[in-house]
Protein backbone atom coordinates (compact mmCIF):
# COMPACT_ATOMS: atom_id res chain seq x y z
CA UNK A 1 0.00 0.00 0.00
CA UNK A 2 1.27 3.45 -0.88
CA UNK A 3 1.82 5.67 2.16
CA UNK A 4 -0.77 8.39 2.65
CA UNK A 5 1.15 10.55 5.14
CA UNK A 6 2.55 12.64 2.30
CA UNK A 7 2.95 16.42 2.04
CA UNK A 8 0.39 16.45 -0.79
CA UNK A 9 -2.43 15.18 1.41
CA UNK A 10 -1.37 17.35 4.31
CA UNK A 11 -1.40 20.54 2.25
CA UNK A 12 -4.68 19.55 0.60
CA UNK A 13 -6.55 18.95 3.85
CA UNK A 14 -4.88 21.87 5.60
CA UNK A 15 -5.98 24.16 2.76
CA UNK A 16 -9.56 22.85 2.95
CA UNK A 17 -9.50 23.37 6.69
CA UNK A 18 -8.21 26.92 6.39
CA UNK A 19 -10.81 27.82 3.77
CA UNK A 20 -13.51 26.31 5.98
CA UNK A 21 -12.22 28.17 9.02
CA UNK A 22 -12.09 31.51 7.20
CA UNK A 23 -15.62 30.94 5.90
CA UNK A 24 -16.85 30.27 9.44
CA UNK A 25 -15.93 33.79 10.54
CA UNK A 26 -16.74 35.66 7.33
CA UNK A 27 -20.20 34.31 6.44
CA UNK A 28 -23.02 36.52 7.68
CA UNK A 29 -25.55 33.71 7.67
CA UNK A 30 -24.94 31.56 10.79
CA UNK A 31 -26.14 28.38 9.05
CA UNK A 32 -23.51 28.87 6.36
CA UNK A 33 -20.92 29.39 9.08
CA UNK A 34 -21.95 26.15 10.74
CA UNK A 35 -21.73 24.27 7.44
CA UNK A 36 -18.27 25.70 6.83
CA UNK A 37 -17.28 24.54 10.30
CA UNK A 38 -18.43 21.04 9.38
CA UNK A 39 -16.19 21.14 6.31
CA UNK A 40 -13.26 22.20 8.51
CA UNK A 41 -13.99 19.40 10.99
CA UNK A 42 -14.20 16.79 8.23
CA UNK A 43 -10.88 18.00 6.82
CA UNK A 44 -9.43 17.64 10.30
CA UNK A 45 -10.75 14.07 10.45
CA UNK A 46 -9.01 13.43 7.13
CA UNK A 47 -5.73 14.66 8.61
CA UNK A 48 -6.13 12.23 11.52
CA UNK A 49 -6.80 9.49 8.98
CA UNK A 50 -3.70 10.54 7.07
CA UNK A 51 -1.63 10.26 10.24
CA UNK A 52 -2.73 6.61 10.68
CA UNK A 53 -5.17 7.37 13.49
CA UNK A 54 -8.41 5.98 12.03
CA UNK A 55 -10.08 5.60 15.42
CA UNK A 56 -9.62 9.26 16.26
CA UNK A 57 -10.88 10.19 12.78
CA UNK A 58 -14.00 8.05 13.20
CA UNK A 59 -14.74 9.50 16.62
CA UNK A 60 -14.19 13.00 15.23
CA UNK A 61 -16.79 12.38 12.51
CA UNK A 62 -19.34 10.78 14.85
CA UNK A 63 -19.01 13.29 17.67
CA UNK A 64 -18.31 16.60 15.98
CA UNK A 65 -19.66 16.38 12.44
CA UNK A 66 -22.55 14.04 13.20
CA UNK A 67 -23.45 14.99 16.76
CA UNK A 68 -22.40 18.38 18.00
CA UNK A 69 -22.79 20.19 14.70
CA UNK A 70 -26.33 18.83 14.30
CA UNK A 71 -27.19 20.34 17.68
CA UNK A 72 -25.51 23.59 16.58
CA UNK A 73 -27.63 23.71 13.43
CA UNK A 74 -30.65 22.75 15.50
CA UNK A 75 -30.25 25.83 17.67
CA UNK A 76 -29.27 28.18 14.84
CA UNK A 77 -32.30 27.18 12.78
CA UNK A 78 -34.60 28.33 15.56
CA UNK A 79 -33.03 31.80 15.56
CA UNK A 80 -34.40 34.38 13.17
CA UNK A 81 -31.81 34.45 10.39
CA UNK A 82 -33.15 37.59 8.68
CA UNK A 83 -32.26 39.85 11.56
CA UNK A 84 -28.74 38.53 11.99
CA UNK A 85 -28.03 38.99 8.28
CA UNK A 86 -29.04 42.64 8.40
CA UNK A 87 -27.06 43.34 11.54
CA UNK A 88 -23.53 44.70 11.26
CA UNK A 89 -21.00 42.03 12.12
CA UNK A 90 -19.04 42.92 15.21
CA UNK A 91 -16.17 40.54 14.58
CA UNK A 92 -14.24 43.03 12.45
CA UNK A 93 -11.76 44.10 15.13
CA UNK A 94 -8.95 44.96 12.79
CA UNK A 95 -6.25 46.14 15.22
CA UNK A 96 -6.73 43.36 17.79
CA UNK A 97 -6.97 40.81 14.97
CA UNK A 98 -3.78 42.08 13.38
CA UNK A 99 -1.86 41.85 16.67
CA UNK A 100 -3.14 38.35 17.41
CA UNK A 101 -2.42 37.17 13.87
CA UNK A 102 1.12 38.58 13.98
CA UNK A 103 1.80 36.93 17.33
CA UNK A 104 0.46 33.57 16.15
CA UNK A 105 2.31 33.88 12.84
CA UNK A 106 5.52 34.68 14.69
CA UNK A 107 5.02 31.63 16.87
CA UNK A 108 4.50 29.44 13.81
CA UNK A 109 7.60 30.82 12.13
CA UNK A 110 9.63 30.28 15.30
CA UNK A 111 8.42 26.70 15.55
CA UNK A 112 9.19 26.17 11.87
CA UNK A 113 12.72 27.54 12.25
CA UNK A 114 13.63 25.84 15.52
CA UNK A 115 11.18 22.98 15.21
CA UNK A 116 13.72 20.20 14.87
CA UNK A 117 15.34 20.99 18.22
CA UNK A 118 12.07 21.58 20.11
CA UNK A 119 10.23 18.58 18.67
CA UNK A 120 12.65 15.75 17.90
CA UNK A 121 12.02 14.01 14.64
CA UNK A 122 9.86 11.02 15.32
CA UNK A 123 8.74 8.39 12.89
CA UNK A 124 5.20 7.03 13.18
CA UNK A 125 5.65 3.99 15.37
CA UNK A 126 2.07 2.72 15.56
CA UNK A 127 0.79 0.96 12.52
CA UNK A 128 -2.77 1.57 11.45
CA UNK A 129 -4.04 -1.85 12.40
CA UNK A 130 -3.77 -1.52 16.15
CA UNK A 131 -4.53 2.16 16.52
CA UNK A 132 -7.81 1.40 18.29
CA UNK A 133 -6.10 -0.95 20.75
CA UNK A 134 -3.36 1.63 21.33
CA UNK A 135 -5.92 4.30 22.15
CA UNK A 136 -7.69 1.88 24.50
CA UNK A 137 -4.56 0.86 26.39
CA UNK A 138 -3.53 4.51 26.69
CA UNK A 139 -6.93 5.64 27.97
CA UNK A 140 -7.66 2.74 30.29
CA UNK A 141 -4.06 2.03 31.29
CA UNK A 142 -1.65 4.93 31.73
CA UNK A 143 -4.18 7.77 31.65
CA UNK A 144 -7.00 6.09 33.53
CA UNK A 145 -7.19 8.77 36.22
CA UNK A 146 -7.35 11.88 33.98
CA UNK A 147 -9.83 10.06 31.76
CA UNK A 148 -12.16 9.32 34.65
CA UNK A 149 -11.78 12.89 35.95
CA UNK A 150 -12.82 14.17 32.53
CA UNK A 151 -15.87 11.91 32.48
CA UNK A 152 -16.78 13.06 36.00
CA UNK A 153 -16.59 16.64 34.75
CA UNK A 154 -18.96 15.78 31.93
CA UNK A 155 -21.32 14.12 34.40
CA UNK A 156 -21.39 17.31 36.44
CA UNK A 157 -22.20 19.25 33.27
CA UNK A 158 -25.04 16.86 32.44
CA UNK A 159 -26.53 17.10 35.93
CA UNK A 160 -26.18 20.87 35.82
CA UNK A 161 -28.00 21.03 32.49
CA UNK A 162 -30.81 18.85 33.80
CA UNK A 163 -31.16 20.96 36.96
CA UNK A 164 -31.26 24.15 34.94
CA UNK A 165 -33.69 22.85 32.31
CA UNK A 166 -36.18 21.15 34.64
CA UNK A 167 -38.49 23.29 36.73
CA UNK A 168 -39.49 20.50 39.08
CA UNK A 169 -37.23 17.57 39.80
Amino acid sequence: MAPVATPFFFYLFAAIMLVGGIMVITRKNPVHSALALIIALLAQASIYLMLYAPFVAGVQIILYAGGIMVLFLFVIMLVSIDRSIRERQFNSQRIAGLIAATALGGLFIAVYMKGTSVFPEHALSTIENDNTQQVATMLYGQSMFPFEIASLLLLVAIIGAVVMAKKRI
Binding site: V31, P54, G58, I61, G66, G67, V70, F74, T132
Partner: protein, 425 residues
Protein backbone atom coordinates in the same frame (compact mmCIF):
# COMPACT_ATOMS: atom_id res chain seq x y z
CA UNK B 1 -1.19 -3.96 -22.17
CA UNK B 2 0.29 -7.12 -20.70
CA UNK B 3 1.17 -5.28 -17.53
CA UNK B 4 -2.41 -4.11 -17.14
CA UNK B 5 -3.79 -7.61 -17.52
CA UNK B 6 -1.21 -8.91 -15.10
CA UNK B 7 -2.25 -6.20 -12.60
CA UNK B 8 -5.87 -7.25 -13.03
CA UNK B 9 -5.07 -10.93 -12.61
CA UNK B 10 -2.78 -10.44 -9.64
CA UNK B 11 -5.78 -9.86 -7.39
CA UNK B 12 -7.59 -13.05 -8.39
CA UNK B 13 -5.13 -15.29 -6.56
CA UNK B 14 -5.28 -13.30 -3.30
CA UNK B 15 -7.91 -14.02 -0.68
CA UNK B 16 -8.35 -10.43 0.45
CA UNK B 17 -10.77 -7.66 -0.30
CA UNK B 18 -9.65 -5.47 -3.20
CA UNK B 19 -9.13 -2.57 -0.80
CA UNK B 20 -6.85 -4.61 1.45
CA UNK B 21 -4.96 -5.97 -1.55
CA UNK B 22 -4.55 -2.42 -2.80
CA UNK B 23 -5.85 -3.27 -6.27
CA UNK B 24 -7.47 -0.17 -7.76
CA UNK B 25 -9.06 -1.93 -10.73
CA UNK B 26 -10.97 -4.52 -8.73
CA UNK B 27 -11.89 -1.98 -6.09
CA UNK B 28 -13.49 0.06 -8.87
CA UNK B 29 -15.26 -3.02 -10.21
CA UNK B 30 -16.59 -3.81 -6.74
CA UNK B 31 -17.77 -0.22 -6.28
CA UNK B 32 -19.63 -0.42 -9.60
CA UNK B 33 -21.15 -3.78 -8.64
CA UNK B 34 -22.26 -2.55 -5.22
CA UNK B 35 -23.70 0.61 -6.74
CA UNK B 36 -25.58 -1.32 -9.44
CA UNK B 37 -26.77 -3.91 -6.95
CA UNK B 38 -28.01 -1.20 -4.60
CA UNK B 39 -29.88 0.58 -7.37
CA UNK B 40 -31.56 -2.66 -8.42
CA UNK B 41 -32.36 -3.41 -4.78
CA UNK B 42 -33.93 0.03 -4.34
CA UNK B 43 -36.02 -0.44 -7.49
CA UNK B 44 -37.12 -3.90 -6.36
CA UNK B 45 -37.83 -2.59 -2.88
CA UNK B 46 -39.97 0.20 -4.30
CA UNK B 47 -42.14 -2.30 -6.18
CA UNK B 48 -42.25 -4.82 -3.36
CA UNK B 49 -43.18 -2.21 -0.77
CA UNK B 50 -46.14 -0.96 -2.77
CA UNK B 51 -47.22 -4.47 -3.61
CA UNK B 52 -46.87 -5.98 -0.12
CA UNK B 53 -48.42 -2.96 1.55
CA UNK B 54 -51.32 -3.17 -0.89
CA UNK B 55 -51.86 -6.86 -0.19
CA UNK B 56 -51.75 -6.20 3.56
CA UNK B 57 -54.50 -3.63 3.08
CA UNK B 58 -56.50 -5.95 0.76
CA UNK B 59 -55.74 -3.92 -2.34
CA UNK B 60 -54.09 -4.95 -5.57
CA UNK B 61 -51.38 -2.29 -5.72
CA UNK B 62 -49.80 -1.31 -9.04
CA UNK B 63 -51.28 -3.51 -11.79
CA UNK B 64 -51.26 -1.41 -14.95
CA UNK B 65 -47.64 -0.81 -16.00
CA UNK B 66 -46.34 -4.20 -17.02
CA UNK B 67 -47.56 -7.54 -15.67
CA UNK B 68 -48.50 -7.08 -11.99
CA UNK B 69 -47.04 -3.58 -12.15
CA UNK B 70 -43.48 -4.90 -12.55
CA UNK B 71 -42.45 -1.95 -14.70
CA UNK B 72 -43.98 0.60 -12.33
CA UNK B 73 -40.67 1.60 -10.67
CA UNK B 74 -39.11 2.23 -14.07
CA UNK B 75 -42.09 4.34 -15.11
CA UNK B 76 -41.80 6.24 -11.84
CA UNK B 77 -38.11 6.85 -12.37
CA UNK B 78 -38.73 8.21 -15.88
CA UNK B 79 -41.51 10.41 -14.55
CA UNK B 80 -39.24 11.81 -11.84
CA UNK B 81 -36.40 12.50 -14.27
CA UNK B 82 -38.68 14.31 -16.70
CA UNK B 83 -40.42 16.38 -14.06
CA UNK B 84 -39.64 20.05 -13.74
CA UNK B 85 -37.09 20.77 -11.06
CA UNK B 86 -38.54 23.53 -8.91
CA UNK B 87 -36.65 25.56 -6.36
CA UNK B 88 -38.66 27.89 -4.11
CA UNK B 89 -37.91 31.55 -4.80
CA UNK B 90 -37.00 32.28 -1.19
CA UNK B 91 -34.90 29.17 -0.76
CA UNK B 92 -31.21 29.26 0.10
CA UNK B 93 -29.83 28.16 -3.26
CA UNK B 94 -26.49 26.55 -2.38
CA UNK B 95 -27.72 24.71 0.69
CA UNK B 96 -30.89 23.61 -1.09
CA UNK B 97 -28.77 22.25 -3.92
CA UNK B 98 -26.25 20.50 -1.66
CA UNK B 99 -28.65 18.79 0.74
CA UNK B 100 -29.78 15.85 -1.44
CA UNK B 101 -26.21 15.13 -2.47
CA UNK B 102 -25.01 14.95 1.12
CA UNK B 103 -27.82 12.56 1.99
CA UNK B 104 -27.05 10.32 -0.99
CA UNK B 105 -23.31 10.51 -0.39
CA UNK B 106 -23.72 9.47 3.25
CA UNK B 107 -26.13 6.67 2.36
CA UNK B 108 -23.90 5.17 -0.34
CA UNK B 109 -20.45 5.71 1.19
CA UNK B 110 -21.19 3.37 4.09
CA UNK B 111 -21.31 0.44 1.67
CA UNK B 112 -17.54 0.70 1.30
CA UNK B 113 -17.13 -1.50 4.39
CA UNK B 114 -20.24 -3.72 4.21
CA UNK B 115 -18.97 -7.31 4.05
CA UNK B 116 -21.01 -9.34 1.59
CA UNK B 117 -18.57 -12.18 2.04
CA UNK B 118 -15.11 -12.84 3.51
CA UNK B 119 -13.58 -11.30 0.38
CA UNK B 120 -16.64 -9.65 -1.10
CA UNK B 121 -16.28 -6.18 0.34
CA UNK B 122 -14.83 -3.09 -1.28
CA UNK B 123 -12.42 -2.78 1.61
CA UNK B 124 -12.10 -3.77 5.21
CA UNK B 125 -11.29 -1.00 7.63
CA UNK B 126 -9.88 -1.34 11.08
CA UNK B 127 -12.68 0.97 12.25
CA UNK B 128 -15.37 -0.52 9.99
CA UNK B 129 -18.40 -0.26 12.26
CA UNK B 130 -17.33 3.15 13.56
CA UNK B 131 -17.02 4.35 9.99
CA UNK B 132 -20.50 3.09 9.14
CA UNK B 133 -22.11 4.76 12.15
CA UNK B 134 -20.17 7.97 11.60
CA UNK B 135 -20.88 8.38 7.94
CA UNK B 136 -24.52 7.40 8.26
CA UNK B 137 -24.87 10.00 11.02
CA UNK B 138 -23.82 12.62 8.47
CA UNK B 139 -27.10 12.12 6.62
CA UNK B 140 -28.83 14.06 9.42
CA UNK B 141 -26.93 17.10 8.21
CA UNK B 142 -28.41 16.72 4.74
CA UNK B 143 -31.91 16.42 6.17
CA UNK B 144 -31.47 19.47 8.40
CA UNK B 145 -30.04 21.44 5.49
CA UNK B 146 -32.91 20.44 3.22
CA UNK B 147 -35.49 21.44 5.79
CA UNK B 148 -33.87 24.75 6.57
CA UNK B 149 -32.98 25.74 3.01
CA UNK B 150 -36.54 25.22 1.77
CA UNK B 151 -37.49 28.31 3.81
CA UNK B 152 -40.92 26.92 4.51
CA UNK B 153 -42.64 25.82 7.69
CA UNK B 154 -43.45 22.16 7.14
CA UNK B 155 -39.95 21.22 5.97
CA UNK B 156 -38.39 23.07 8.90
CA UNK B 157 -40.59 21.28 11.43
CA UNK B 158 -39.90 17.99 9.66
CA UNK B 159 -36.15 18.60 9.75
CA UNK B 160 -36.24 19.55 13.43
CA UNK B 161 -38.20 16.45 14.32
CA UNK B 162 -35.97 14.27 12.23
CA UNK B 163 -32.73 15.57 13.66
CA UNK B 164 -33.98 15.38 17.25
CA UNK B 165 -35.11 11.83 16.62
CA UNK B 166 -31.92 10.70 14.93
CA UNK B 167 -29.64 12.25 17.53
CA UNK B 168 -31.54 10.65 20.42
CA UNK B 169 -31.82 7.19 18.91
CA UNK B 170 -28.17 7.20 17.90
CA UNK B 171 -27.26 6.96 21.58
CA UNK B 172 -29.26 3.79 22.22
CA UNK B 173 -28.05 2.40 18.92
CA UNK B 174 -24.43 3.03 19.84
CA UNK B 175 -24.83 1.27 23.19
CA UNK B 176 -26.32 -1.78 21.50
CA UNK B 177 -23.49 -1.82 18.98
CA UNK B 178 -20.87 -1.55 21.73
CA UNK B 179 -22.31 -4.56 23.55
CA UNK B 180 -22.02 -6.57 20.34
CA UNK B 181 -18.45 -5.40 19.75
CA UNK B 182 -17.63 -6.43 23.31
CA UNK B 183 -18.56 -9.98 22.42
CA UNK B 184 -15.91 -10.06 19.69
CA UNK B 185 -13.21 -9.84 22.36
CA UNK B 186 -14.06 -13.27 23.81
CA UNK B 187 -11.10 -15.03 22.28
CA UNK B 188 -7.73 -16.26 23.45
CA UNK B 189 -6.00 -12.88 23.08
CA UNK B 190 -8.87 -10.96 24.62
CA UNK B 191 -8.81 -8.22 21.99
CA UNK B 192 -11.95 -7.38 20.06
CA UNK B 193 -12.29 -5.77 16.68
CA UNK B 194 -14.26 -3.00 15.01
CA UNK B 195 -13.74 -4.31 11.49
CA UNK B 196 -16.91 -5.60 9.85
CA UNK B 197 -15.23 -8.71 8.47
CA UNK B 198 -13.54 -9.29 11.82
CA UNK B 199 -16.89 -9.18 13.63
CA UNK B 200 -18.36 -11.89 11.41
CA UNK B 201 -15.20 -13.98 11.73
CA UNK B 202 -15.45 -13.66 15.52
CA UNK B 203 -18.98 -15.08 15.34
CA UNK B 204 -17.68 -17.91 13.19
CA UNK B 205 -14.85 -18.61 15.62
CA UNK B 206 -17.13 -18.57 18.65
CA UNK B 207 -19.59 -20.85 16.91
CA UNK B 208 -22.72 -18.78 17.45
CA UNK B 209 -24.39 -15.67 16.14
CA UNK B 210 -24.21 -12.80 18.61
CA UNK B 211 -28.00 -12.66 18.78
CA UNK B 212 -27.88 -15.97 20.72
CA UNK B 213 -24.77 -15.10 22.70
CA UNK B 214 -25.29 -14.83 26.50
CA UNK B 215 -28.99 -15.44 25.96
CA UNK B 216 -30.98 -13.19 26.34
CA UNK B 217 -28.40 -10.36 26.41
CA UNK B 218 -27.54 -10.57 22.73
CA UNK B 219 -31.21 -10.75 21.86
CA UNK B 220 -32.03 -7.62 23.88
CA UNK B 221 -29.14 -5.69 22.33
CA UNK B 222 -30.37 -6.79 18.91
CA UNK B 223 -33.90 -5.69 19.79
CA UNK B 224 -32.66 -2.24 20.85
CA UNK B 225 -30.78 -1.92 17.59
CA UNK B 226 -33.74 -3.16 15.57
CA UNK B 227 -35.99 -0.48 17.08
CA UNK B 228 -33.37 2.26 16.89
CA UNK B 229 -32.58 1.52 13.27
CA UNK B 230 -36.19 2.03 12.23
CA UNK B 231 -36.19 5.37 14.04
CA UNK B 232 -32.81 6.22 12.55
CA UNK B 233 -34.08 5.78 8.99
CA UNK B 234 -37.28 7.77 9.67
CA UNK B 235 -39.54 4.89 8.76
CA UNK B 236 -42.98 3.99 10.09
CA UNK B 237 -43.90 3.81 12.96
CA UNK B 238 -41.27 6.48 13.67
CA UNK B 239 -41.81 8.48 10.48
CA UNK B 240 -42.79 11.69 12.26
CA UNK B 241 -40.36 13.65 10.14
CA UNK B 242 -42.43 12.94 7.05
CA UNK B 243 -45.83 12.34 8.63
CA UNK B 244 -48.01 13.12 5.64
CA UNK B 245 -51.13 13.90 7.66
CA UNK B 246 -49.26 16.49 9.73
CA UNK B 247 -46.39 17.84 7.67
CA UNK B 248 -47.25 17.07 4.02
CA UNK B 249 -43.94 15.33 3.34
CA UNK B 250 -41.64 16.72 6.00
CA UNK B 251 -38.19 17.92 5.05
CA UNK B 252 -38.52 17.12 1.35
CA UNK B 253 -41.87 18.88 0.78
CA UNK B 254 -40.31 21.52 -1.47
CA UNK B 255 -38.24 19.09 -3.50
CA UNK B 256 -39.42 17.74 -6.81
CA UNK B 257 -38.21 15.69 -9.72
CA UNK B 258 -34.65 14.43 -9.67
CA UNK B 259 -33.70 15.95 -6.33
CA UNK B 260 -36.67 14.30 -4.66
CA UNK B 261 -35.70 10.97 -6.19
CA UNK B 262 -32.25 11.37 -4.61
CA UNK B 263 -33.89 11.60 -1.18
CA UNK B 264 -35.92 8.54 -2.03
CA UNK B 265 -32.81 6.65 -3.13
CA UNK B 266 -30.96 7.70 0.00
CA UNK B 267 -33.78 6.62 2.31
CA UNK B 268 -33.92 3.13 0.87
CA UNK B 269 -30.18 2.63 0.67
CA UNK B 270 -29.88 3.86 4.27
CA UNK B 271 -32.45 1.21 5.22
CA UNK B 272 -30.33 -1.43 3.49
CA UNK B 273 -27.20 -0.05 5.19
CA UNK B 274 -28.54 -0.23 8.74
CA UNK B 275 -30.01 -3.66 8.02
CA UNK B 276 -26.60 -4.83 6.93
CA UNK B 277 -25.11 -3.50 10.16
CA UNK B 278 -27.70 -5.54 12.09
CA UNK B 279 -27.01 -8.62 9.96
CA UNK B 280 -23.25 -8.27 10.38
CA UNK B 281 -23.31 -7.66 14.11
CA UNK B 282 -25.95 -10.12 15.28
CA UNK B 283 -26.98 -12.46 12.50
CA UNK B 284 -23.63 -13.76 11.37
CA UNK B 285 -23.23 -11.70 8.20
CA UNK B 286 -22.46 -13.91 5.25
CA UNK B 287 -22.41 -17.15 7.29
CA UNK B 288 -24.96 -19.73 6.22
CA UNK B 289 -27.24 -21.25 8.87
CA UNK B 290 -25.45 -23.72 11.16
CA UNK B 291 -21.93 -23.43 9.69
CA UNK B 292 -20.40 -25.35 12.59
CA UNK B 293 -23.18 -27.81 13.47
CA UNK B 294 -23.91 -29.07 9.96
CA UNK B 295 -20.41 -28.83 8.55
CA UNK B 296 -20.14 -32.03 6.53
CA UNK B 297 -19.58 -31.78 2.79
CA UNK B 298 -23.13 -33.07 2.20
CA UNK B 299 -24.56 -30.11 4.09
CA UNK B 300 -22.22 -27.76 2.24
CA UNK B 301 -23.66 -29.10 -0.99
CA UNK B 302 -27.24 -28.79 0.26
CA UNK B 303 -26.75 -25.19 1.36
CA UNK B 304 -24.95 -24.28 -1.85
CA UNK B 305 -28.13 -25.23 -3.74
CA UNK B 306 -30.19 -22.57 -1.96
CA UNK B 307 -29.38 -19.58 -4.23
CA UNK B 308 -30.37 -21.50 -7.35
CA UNK B 309 -33.53 -22.90 -5.75
CA UNK B 310 -34.60 -19.41 -4.65
CA UNK B 311 -34.34 -18.06 -8.19
CA UNK B 312 -36.14 -21.15 -9.59
CA UNK B 313 -38.95 -20.48 -7.09
CA UNK B 314 -39.19 -16.88 -8.33
CA UNK B 315 -39.31 -18.21 -11.90
CA UNK B 316 -42.01 -20.72 -10.96
CA UNK B 317 -44.02 -17.87 -9.41
CA UNK B 318 -43.74 -15.92 -12.65
CA UNK B 319 -44.89 -18.91 -14.73
CA UNK B 320 -47.78 -19.62 -12.36
CA UNK B 321 -48.99 -16.04 -12.65
CA UNK B 322 -48.44 -16.03 -16.42
CA UNK B 323 -50.76 -19.05 -16.67
CA UNK B 324 -53.31 -17.30 -14.44
CA UNK B 325 -53.34 -14.16 -16.61
CA UNK B 326 -56.66 -13.38 -18.27
CA UNK B 327 -56.88 -15.04 -21.68
CA UNK B 328 -58.10 -11.86 -23.38
CA UNK B 329 -55.97 -10.77 -26.41
CA UNK B 330 -55.25 -7.45 -24.69
CA UNK B 331 -53.27 -9.30 -22.03
CA UNK B 332 -51.14 -11.25 -24.51
CA UNK B 333 -48.09 -8.97 -24.34
CA UNK B 334 -48.23 -8.88 -20.54
CA UNK B 335 -48.44 -12.68 -20.38
CA UNK B 336 -45.49 -13.08 -22.74
CA UNK B 337 -43.53 -10.47 -20.77
CA UNK B 338 -44.15 -12.20 -17.46
CA UNK B 339 -43.20 -15.59 -18.91
CA UNK B 340 -40.06 -14.02 -20.39
CA UNK B 341 -39.15 -12.55 -16.99
CA UNK B 342 -39.69 -16.02 -15.53
CA UNK B 343 -37.34 -17.51 -18.13
CA UNK B 344 -34.65 -14.94 -17.25
CA UNK B 345 -35.00 -15.68 -13.54
CA UNK B 346 -34.93 -19.43 -14.25
CA UNK B 347 -31.75 -19.09 -16.30
CA UNK B 348 -30.11 -17.12 -13.49
CA UNK B 349 -31.23 -19.88 -11.12
CA UNK B 350 -29.71 -22.56 -13.33
CA UNK B 351 -26.48 -20.58 -13.59
CA UNK B 352 -26.32 -20.50 -9.81
CA UNK B 353 -26.28 -24.32 -9.72
CA UNK B 354 -22.87 -24.35 -11.43
CA UNK B 355 -20.50 -25.21 -8.55
CA UNK B 356 -17.89 -22.61 -9.52
CA UNK B 357 -20.54 -19.88 -9.46
CA UNK B 358 -22.43 -20.99 -6.39
CA UNK B 359 -19.20 -21.29 -4.41
CA UNK B 360 -18.45 -17.61 -4.99
CA UNK B 361 -22.00 -16.34 -4.75
CA UNK B 362 -23.42 -18.14 -1.75
CA UNK B 363 -21.90 -15.72 0.79
CA UNK B 364 -23.55 -12.83 -1.01
CA UNK B 365 -26.78 -14.82 -1.21
CA UNK B 366 -26.99 -15.47 2.53
CA UNK B 367 -26.12 -11.88 3.33
CA UNK B 368 -28.72 -10.58 0.89
CA UNK B 369 -31.33 -13.03 2.15
CA UNK B 370 -30.88 -11.83 5.74
CA UNK B 371 -31.02 -8.19 4.67
CA UNK B 372 -34.13 -8.96 2.61
CA UNK B 373 -35.74 -10.31 5.79
CA UNK B 374 -35.18 -6.94 7.43
CA UNK B 375 -36.56 -5.15 4.38
CA UNK B 376 -39.73 -7.21 4.68
CA UNK B 377 -39.93 -6.30 8.37
CA UNK B 378 -39.73 -2.60 7.43
CA UNK B 379 -42.73 -2.99 5.14
CA UNK B 380 -44.54 -5.08 7.71
CA UNK B 381 -44.03 -2.39 10.39
CA UNK B 382 -45.36 0.21 8.01
CA UNK B 383 -48.41 -1.88 7.27
CA UNK B 384 -49.27 -2.72 10.88
CA UNK B 385 -48.02 -0.15 13.41
CA UNK B 386 -49.76 3.18 14.02
CA UNK B 387 -47.44 6.19 14.08
CA UNK B 388 -46.00 7.29 17.44
CA UNK B 389 -46.70 10.71 18.87
CA UNK B 390 -43.56 12.83 19.19
CA UNK B 391 -43.42 12.82 22.99
CA UNK B 392 -43.99 9.07 22.98
CA UNK B 393 -41.12 8.71 20.54
CA UNK B 394 -38.77 10.69 22.76
CA UNK B 395 -39.94 8.82 25.85
CA UNK B 396 -39.30 5.54 24.08
CA UNK B 397 -35.81 6.60 23.07
CA UNK B 398 -34.57 8.17 26.28
CA UNK B 399 -36.54 6.38 29.01
CA UNK B 400 -36.83 2.86 27.61
CA UNK B 401 -34.15 2.10 25.04
CA UNK B 402 -31.30 4.07 26.62
CA UNK B 403 -31.54 2.51 30.13
CA UNK B 404 -32.04 -0.87 28.51
CA UNK B 405 -28.94 -0.34 26.39
CA UNK B 406 -26.87 0.71 29.41
CA UNK B 407 -28.10 -2.29 31.40
CA UNK B 408 -27.35 -4.72 28.59
CA UNK B 409 -23.90 -3.23 28.10
CA UNK B 410 -23.02 -3.53 31.80
CA UNK B 411 -24.42 -7.06 32.04
CA UNK B 412 -22.65 -8.17 28.87
CA UNK B 413 -19.37 -6.77 30.14
CA UNK B 414 -19.77 -8.49 33.53
CA UNK B 415 -20.72 -11.85 32.01
CA UNK B 416 -17.86 -11.60 29.53
CA UNK B 417 -15.44 -10.76 32.35
CA UNK B 418 -16.66 -13.67 34.45
CA UNK B 419 -16.35 -16.03 31.51
CA UNK B 420 -12.91 -14.73 30.62
CA UNK B 421 -11.43 -14.71 34.14
CA UNK B 422 -13.17 -17.47 36.07
CA UNK B 423 -14.27 -20.16 33.67
CA UNK B 424 -11.26 -19.98 31.36
CA UNK B 425 -8.41 -18.51 33.44
Amino acid sequence: MGAIIQYMESYLSSDQTPGAAGNMFWALVYIMLVFAGLSVAVIAMNWLERKILAHMQVRLGPMRVGPHGLLQPIADAIKLLLKEDIMPAEADGVVFWMAPFIVVLAAFTVFVVVPFGPTHAITDMNIGILFMLGVSSLSVLGIVMAGWASNSHYPLIGALRSSAQMVSYEVAMGLAVVSAILMTSLNAEGTGTLSMIGIVQAQQAQGEWFIFKFFPLGLIAFFIFAVAMVAETNRAPFDLAEAESELTAGFHTEYSGFRWSLFFLAEYSAMIAVSSIAVTLWLGGWLRPFPNLLNSSTWDLVFSLFPGITFLLFAAMCFYNAVRMPKHPLFRIQTIGLAGFGVVLGLIGLLLFVPAVSLRVQDIFWFAAKVAGFMYLYIWYRGTFPRYRFDQLMQMGWKVLLPMGLGVLILTASVALVQQKIWHP
